[in-house]
Symmetry: C2
Subunit: 352 residues, 2 copies
């Protein structure tokens, strides 16, 4: 299967036009398009343009407010809560990150929560926003569907609630850990469903605790947390920090945005910005991060392992490649996106 490659600019224009058509303002449409294609550029395709049809479906079903009044409702010295007014998660989280960076610049650290938001795509994009200001970023979210029971349970009251940490380096790419609290995110299960390829033991279990390896039986079971009770506990505390603390939903109340296009999800997130210069000289820190990266990368490898990757390094390598050579797209996705554009009367993807 030959994959055609598109430039980020081509995909951003395509995406922006569709968002404008379904009611977003020009600047909001541009912003969301840029963040979605930023995920494709980093090889995190599951949070990229592939999401466009589903996001549009939800907008057209009235599930998302296309002209939100996103505002800071609790504005303190080092903290804030952003009310997203049910706007696109990308817009809400960008606003929350801005607020966190501005506050952390004055006081050293800021913690900003968000409520009444929606699925915000690739979390690392928000955790990375403080990097340009020589700050460290942390991001947490309540996932937009529950795929996991608590440890010992069989009822899916928890999501894959992810955690992201971004740390600046000097010459090396930043360290960017972006992890679900489950062994795999649900997107990987979907990929196996499409191909029919068996799943490894350890990804999912059924209600009796037995492994599920047939991806077409995934609805009989649930995702496993990392480290057993530890990943389950991490999903719980992230749900409380990113959800409950900000007045957003957590637990059984969470709306499954795969199954329900119209209910308000009241998704919660949190972002922390931490100013390096309040702890030590910035260049000293970044050089130490470089040294730590190199020590880890160059440490002795297990036989058969070609390279030890730092968190976020694969995505960074992909970013360099795709910026230079374009973003590959399979024909099925291209057809689906062009069908969407045709139905809305916007420009199709350029011929290649």
């Amino acid at each position: 299967m030959v994959k055609e490659r598109f430039t980020a600019a081509e995909l951003e224009k395509f995406t922006r036009e569709i968002y404008e058509k379904v009611g977003l303002s020009g600047s909001d449409a541009s912003h969301v398009a840029r963040l979605m294609i930023a995920a494709d550029l980093r090889g995190v395709d599951g949070h990229g343009i592939i999401r466009l049809p589903r996001y549009v479906r939800r907008i057209r079903a009235g599930g998302v407010n296309v002209r939100p009044n996103i505002r800071v409702v609790e504005d303190r010295l080092s903290t804030a809560v952003v009310d997203g007014d049910n706007g696109m998660g990308q817009l809400v989280m960008s606003r929350a990150a801005e607020a966190a960076i501005e506050k952390a610049d004055r006081t050293g650290v800021a913690w900003v929560g968000a409520r009444m938001s929606n699925h915000a795509g690739f979390g690392a994009l928000y955790a990375e926003m403080p990097l340009a200001r020589d700050m460290i970023g942390l991001y947490m979210a309540v996932a937009s569907a529950n795929h996991m029971p608590p440890w010992g349970g069989v009822e899916k009251v928890l999501g894959t609630n992810p955690l992201t940490v971004a740390i600046p380096a000097q010459e090396e790419p930043p360290v960017v850990l972006d992890m679900a609290t489950t062994v795999v995110a649900y997107g990987k299960i979907k990929t196996h469903q499409l191909t029919g390829k068996p799943m490894p033991v350890g990804w999912m279990i059924n209600r009796r605790g037995e492994p599920i390896t047939d991806p077409n039986r995934s609805n009989e079971g649930f995702l496993l947390p990392i480290g057993g009770y530890k990943g389950s506990g991490l999903a719980i505390v992230i749900g409380m920090l990113a959800g409950l603390l900000n007045g957003a939903l957590f637990g059984r109340e969470c709306i499954d945005f795969n199954a329900d296009d119209s209910s308000v999800t009241n998704t919660g997130h949190a972002i922390v910005a931490l100013k390096v210069s309040h702890f030590c000289p910035v260049e000293q820190f970044k050089r130490q991060v470089d040294a730590a990266i190199r020590e880890i990368r160059n440490s002795e490898r297990m036989e058969g392992v070609d390279r030890i990757w730092l968190p976020g390094e694969k995505e960074y390598t992909c970013l360099l490649d795709r910026r230079a050579n374009g973003i590959p797209m399979n024909p099925g996705l291209r057809r689906m996106l062009n069908d969407l554009a045709a139905s809305l009367g916007t420009d199709l993807l350029p011929d290649k």
Copy 2:
């Protein structure tokens, strides 16, 4: 084997006298003793009085400063760095937690790092300190020995670098997640070494990636991170946040405090305090945490599972039992402790 039970007061007195004898001030000796026995009270025996002989050995070898000048060296509005002057970790972290709580009370959130510290015992004790002020606490540390390679590697350049989150509830016990980034902490391996009991697959692997189940061959391999590359990545970012950012050691430079009694460990930690009332009314939040706890606890269980435990709930249940009925101690530990007291000329444990 009959285990005798001692009251917390008895063990605190015993411990305090030993610390005073080896040079700590009366108030420092009391404080460290109280925090060590607090771990025993919670059933986290690996961080309790069992550590006393090793802590004392390190003090007598000159590896710890018994009269440290613990001071805040970077004092900003919402951040600080505490220099522990190579004092006991319990003293350094208590000071860091105090600073974080005081700052968060004014600005909503505070992030305080520590350097030139030492092993601080049970991390949840520090994350729990903000709870009494209706704050959430987070704690991270660079572990005091490297037991884990990065994912794909075989060289132990990483520790079990733990993460703790404590969240207040109203009627329920607080949610307190305290987790190493490895599947098990090294203490569990030591327990299996003592009993000779085989370890489950998934705890340790050897240099070829094969499971190690014989606890006496544990030195041929290393601990596995939770969720593979995820736990490895988490250990790396915690090492950078709790270590490098504060001028503390991380990576190959870390001193193995099991093997080396006299070198300065320059252990790093970080604590975050987050003021609930800056996000939402405290009682509303705590009642929502109660509701979430009950929803999770009462959700459907897997066959054969008696109870779904929330993070920290087992420790809380143990705390209530041991406060009322005393702390059980096996004869071997009692003998070891009495030998230590005899060698120092302090009072033995009371007869039972």
